[in-house]
């Protein structure tokens, strides 16, 4: 990743200013996300299928457009 000095300085500031949370708070955030989706389904605002699709990185068709660029390296570095 190439960033110039200005970006690096901005990053450092952002990291310094970022709120620090505990692992328990992180778990709580995860729980909130799951609960929100349950509510969306029970209130009819979303279908379960929609939630599943939202949870995926790409559709099947999109995945077919990816190419593995370094098969030899992946095999050679198998440890």
């Amino acid at each position: 990743m190439r960033t110039n000095a200005r970006q690096q300085a901005a990053q450092r500031t952002a990291l310094r200013k970022a709120t620090k949370i505990s692992y328990a708070r992180l778990q709580h955030l995860r729980q909130e996300t799951l609960e929100l989706d349950s509510k969306r389904v029970t209130s009819g605002r979303a279908e379960p299928q929609e939630i599943l699709l939202e949870s995926r990185l790409f559709t099947d068709e999109e995945i077919k457009t990816f190419k593995l660029a370094n098969l030899e390296q992946v095999l050679a570095k198998t440890r």
């Binding site: 990743m1 955030l29 979303a46 995926r56 190419k67 593995l68 992946v74």
Partner: protein, 259 residues
Amino acid sequence: MTNLTPALPSGHFKNLLTAATGAGLQPFVTGEHAAYFWARYFAPQEPAIKFLLPETGKFLVLLGGTSDLATLAQALQAPFYRVRPGGPRPVLGVIPLTASNGSQLQVEFIQRLPGVTPQEIQRGAAELTSEELGVTMRLPAPFTCLKVECLEMMARLGDTAQDLNRLSTLVLCNRALLREGVKAAESEIIAERKLVVAMETIFAFTQSKPARHAAEKHKVDWLQLFPVVELMKTTRARVRKFFQKRLQATFPSCPRVPS
């Protein structure tokens, strides 16, 4: 949290990864999303995968450091939290996001994966590119995913059907990758020696304590990791020797071919 989170257009994770690629990052996708991606990637070669597809959730786990976290948050114009050390998983930080349809998702950054050194995972990472989507990302190799999954299963008290599903999927993904390796070695696109070294490593894993335990407990047949049909037919001497000396000699269910 709501007042902090920016809206993402629909397409959610895809747009997020496109933004990451645009910011010069090669996001390193791990966990259930990596397993799911490999499953869909190799599904055309391994039809049984469609019956085993692992589930994914709203938490995208990326491997990376604090600068990656800050760069992605900057690209998404999203605030982020840093997570204090001390939890059961080495999570560095999290970017909570709200999509335009109101759904929430999270990007979590972790420092390492259990049982694999950072060097090991970085060197053996698979690079996947879609020019159409403008996304370049990295994933742990299918074998790394399998090892991590196996170790995590061993560490947990109870295994869920989902764990076993993911493990079985990864077994088939590894077989598909090795099949590509056999084809590439036969057409001399890759060195035969490198393929044999990879298969030897995977074979050694099948004989390890965690792998034997998983095989016993869950009736996992590790021979399924290898593309037996292609190995039986291959004309490459070293690959053939591996098949005979390792697989035929170790797995009673391995088909016999004359030496």
